[in-house]
């Protein structure tokens, strides 16, 4: 699948934003975070901006961006529509939560309840994003049980890394955020490796024979394509560049998204003040780069069944 930059950016940015909102909505009402309204502002603004910028970026992927509002209508059947509805709906309790926390320094009572509600909505939004891909049967690398957990794990990891970084401006040596950041990175790493192992080993359900209903006479192979030049199907679904560099790109993603953030979180866990803050900042930056590469690979490694009509043997 063609990795459109707008979608790569959308899924990584809004994934991190909604995951951070999820953590804030859960932890602040429980009194696990600094009570300061300024902290609430910094953390919630980061979450809101990431989520909103991601959503706006996804609109640029559309052929008719001015009609984007229509996408809220088909939530009964479409995961994309559900994702749109949930992402906007999340902002309603999140706004109450944010106003209560930032302007009144309150994170309990109704405000806390709205925090919990925002956390639930944010988690559902992330699940919907994952389901957009997991519901597509023609793409084996997406239509499997690892995709939604992957979106959760990678989002949580980004959320924890961001939270640890922001918390350090208020608490010189926070106790639990770097530890959970480290654990979430290791968990995300495990889930991504499990996903890679799965797509490398599970067998392709569709073949050129099943795609053409041929094969009674023997093996089926493409003789001639229907057209000599590219078309929309090949541009969108027949993307081939990344597969050539699969091993190298996975290594870069592994190092930038998981190994470096894990080591930097460990440094942050063991240090206070400036060093801890710098380590947390670099962990965020490395993870951001790694997640973009990981998401790019998620698209580039996905093979659509339409390629069976253009020379692929099994997909």
């Amino acid at each position: 699948m063609h990795p459109a930059l707008s979608i790569v950016f959308f899924t990584t940015a809004s994934g991190a934003g909604f995951a951070l909102l999820f953590l804030l909505g859960l932890a602040a009402p429980l009194g696990l975070l600094p009570q300061s309204g300024w902290f609430g502002f910094a953390a919630l603004a980061t979450a809101f901006i990431l989520a909103a910028v991601g959503l706006v970026s996804s609109v640029f992927h559309l052929g008719r961006p001015e009609r984007a509002w229509r996408a809220f209508s088909q939530w009964r059947s479409s995961w994309l529509s559900r994702e749109g509805v949930m992402s906007v709906l999340t902002f309603v309790p999140a706004a109450v939560f944010g106003i209560g926390w930032v302007f009144f320094g309150v994170t309990w009572g109704v405000v806390g309840l709205c925090g919990f509600l925002a956390a639930i909505c944010a988690a559902v939004t992330i699940a919907c994003t994952g389901m957009i891909y997991a519901s597509l049967k023609p793409i084996r690398q997406w239509h499997n049980r690892w995709v939604v957990p992957n979106y959760f794990a990678l989002g949580l990891m980004a959320g924890f890394l961001l939270l640890d970084f922001i918390v350090r401006f208020w608490i010189a040596w926070p106790a639990w955020t770097p530890l959970l950041a480290l654990i979430s990175v290791l968990f995300a790493w495990w889930s991504k490796e499990a996903y890679w192992r799965f797509i490398d080993t599970n067998s392709a359900p569709s073949t050129v024979a099943s795609a053409t209903a041929l094969g009674s006479r023997g093996p089926v192979r493409m003789l001639e394509p229907p057209h000599t030049q590219d078309n929309y199907l090949l541009q969108e679904m027949g993307f081939r560049i990344a597969r050539k560099h699969k091993v190298r790109l996975r290594l870069i993603a592994r190092v930038a998204a998981f190994i470096l953030p894990a080591l930097l979180s460990l440094v942050a866990l063991l240090t206070a003040g400036g060093i801890g803050l710098v380590a947390a900042a670099f962990a965020v930056m490395s993870a951001a780069l790694g997640l973009v590469i990981e998401r790019w690979l998620f698209f580039a490694e996905a093979k659509h069944t339409v390629t069976l009509y253009y020379g692929a043997v099994a997909v």
Partner: protein
């Protein structure tokens, strides 16, 4: 509404049956489709760099060519492919706007261009590559089963069929109601063992493909057969009893 229409027994399911034994890969169906539809319901079907390198455009029907088998047993199979108007059309249910829909009355899958936001998700959800994006208008386009021909009172009755079916010089394409088990197309599918494409994905496509019949085995030492046939024919001529007919036969055989 992107929910699929409720099903009931005997529901009309208009679609195509394609005989892979008869298709000669002439691309007439593809060009006739392009010609009709660039002025039809989903018009236009744009082309980009139409006269240079890197030419590409929107087509609803494309003719692929495959080889099946090895050595003497192998054959070339030309394989036209257009929208299969699936019963479980995921291209419809994934649509976030309601632009993509399946008609309850005849099962045709269409796009309402004025609702489409061009998110392309339907084209990802289609395993068969039936949908192509119109980069000019920013909306998705697809085969309409020539909805503007098959119900068109301005056309002569014999022309009220999809352009690809109407034009096919080898009559390899058939159009009809595949929801009715007694229709001509359904009987043809039953008689020839018509098949679904990628049945493992569960889209339940309406269009069916008739696989090529098994060829008689080719045996080399039957090569002189034509000569034997000629001799047999000469023999049968010699057997003509009537002398007048025998004379006419000799005269005409000269």
């Amino acid at each position: 509404m992107t929910d699929l229409p409720a099903r009931y027994p005997g529901q009309t399911q208009l679609g195509l049956v394609i005989d892979l034994d008869l298709c000669v890969g002439c691309h007439a169906c593809a060009t006739a489709c392009k010609e009709w539809n660039t002025g039809g319901h989903m018009a236009p079907l744009p082309d980009f760099n139409a006269y240079g390198d890197g030419a590409w455009g929107v087509w609803f029907n494309r003719v692929h060519s495959f080889e099946e088998g090895e050595g003497d047993g192998a054959r070339t199979v030309h394989f036209p492919k257009s929208c299969l108007h699936c019963e479980d059309a995921a291209c419809v249910t994934v649509c976030p706007t309601g632009a993509s829909y399946k008609r309850a009355e005849d099962g045709i899958v269409l796009v309402n261009e004025s609702l489409c936001i061009g998110c392309k998700l339907c084209s990802w959800a289609c395993p068969y590559g039936a949908r192509e994006f119109d980069a000019d208008e920013g909306v998705m386009k697809k085969c309409t089963l020539c909805i503007d021909r098959i119900y068109n009172d301005n056309l002569a009755p014999e022309e009220r069929q999809p352009a690809c079916v109407f034009v096919c010089p080898t009559k390899a394409r058939f159009f009809g109601d595949l929801g009715d088990p007694n229709s001509a197309v359904s009987e043809l599918v039953a008689a020839r063992g018509g098949k679904d494409l990628m049945p493992e994905l569960g889209y339940r496509p309406t269009n069916k493909y008739l696989p090529p019949r098994r060829a008689r085995p080719y045996v080399d030492d039957l090569a002189p057969q034509p000569l034997t046939a000629l001799m047999a024919e000469a023999q049968s001529r010699a057997d003509v009893a009537n002398p007048l007919l025998r004379w006419v036969d000799r005269l005409l055989s000269r």
